[in-house]
Amino acid sequence: MAWIEAKTGRRRLNRLAHPARVLRVIAAADFKLRYSGSALGYFWSIAKPLALFSMIYAVFGHIFRLGSISHYYPVSLLMGIVVFTFFGDGSSVGMWSLVQRESLLRKLSFPRLIIPTSATLSAAITFAINGAVVVVFIAWNDIGPRLSWFLVVPLLLELYIFVLGVALILSALFVRLRDVGQVWELVLQLIFYASPIIYPIGFLPPFARKIVFINPLTQVLQDLRSILLYPDLRPNRLTIAQTFGTSAARLIPISIALLTLVVGLVFFRREEPWFAERI
């Protein structure tokens, strides 16, 4: 804390080891807390996106016949739902994290950044479990692995950076103004329908494609589809590079993701000293 000039013992000299330990312990507790008191526990983390998938697939895949366009519609839809669920989950859990740990914030001084970071990490664990289900779907569709699949790693990193940035901004805002919770619920729905999750991006007119690709979520999702679901129809796995005609276009959503994190960090650090008394 900036207002205290503290010369602490030798242990604290290791400035990174302590926050890292705290982060690990709190993230483990967060993940445990999510399903504490529920009979099926972690099963719910798989069941919820699968249930959402089944509903949407029944309505849009069958009734609206989107499923007849491509053999890969189900796995493509599931991938979209899982990626979006991580975004919605990480940002919402992150937003609530400070307020939920109120008693800790009021009684101990520690880097507050640990709390929302831990919340997004526990969402990332759920995301990893859901990702395993997507992999099963991919294998079921007889899609074989390729060397390019390693590109999934930087894409997921970009997605996490974006989610963390949004979570930092929302958590600090939420301490000041609880209305943010209601607004974010609506914004999440808007983002869901403004992203090519249910419908293939090829359904959008060209100018609209360019707009939705500004969202890092869309860029990551379409890049994932083009890498992992390579046998799918081309309009279903359009990437930002193909839409703008240059790979450099990818820099727009990537910069937005990075900028979100930077803004989140700066805003969070500015608000941090006041959390204990404003919460």
Binding site: M1, A2, W3, I4, E5, A6, K7, T8, G9, R11, R12, H18, R21, V22, V25, I26, A29, K32, L33, S36, G37, R101, S103, L104, L105, R106, K107, L108, S109, F110, P273, W274, A276, E277
Partner: protein, 247 residues
Amino acid sequence: MLSGSSAIEVNDVAKAFRLPHHRRTTIKDHLLHPFERTTFERYVALDGVTFEVKAGEFFGIIGANGSGKSTLLKIIAGIYPPNRGSVRVEGLLSPFIELGVGFNPELSARDNVRINGTLLGLTGRELSRRFDDIIAFAELEHFVDQKLKNFSSGMQLRLAFSIAIQVDFQILVLDEVLAVGDQRFQEKCFATFERFREEEKTIVFVSHDLSAMGRFCDRMLLLERGNVRSYGDPAEVLAAYAVINAA
């Protein structure tokens, strides 16, 4: 025993809070003035407080309710930023504020000890080595895997205190530790304090138990409405407090 070097230096610390005025109480008021700004009143909790705690001493802070004791402890513990002034802390500080260290009611005692012990600076290895001591001191051997929400306030207090004293602190900050524990636990706390005195640890202690304060403190501070009223020799400070209370 008092080496003369300072453990905590508090220099001209001032702190004010904004108290919102809830003048709009009815639905009609909300409908008529939806965007009217809430007005705030400034409440000055601390108004230029200066003192020093020497390394290895037992330092007591007394004062009536609302005199600023807890706010002062929170600023020393790094939880609140002061509006003015500075605080210097020399050594690892272990705080015990507002009857606990912020437990999570949905987690077991075991998990809570792990979280709070880690937050206070214990490593995983130290924690597993000291875990039994923490539970034994709190006398909660049978409740280790119970959720904290099932604990009585006395049990939570004992657990929080046990964790706070198991950290390798140089400075222990205690806010009203004697308020909830029973007679026997209080005696155990006093015995622990004696041990800390021998180990030359610094303790900052807030309590309304004036006889205990007189018994343990090397020096004291009396706060009155955010100002230092008396500072130094315990007998003098307690006498000054008696004068305030008589008035």
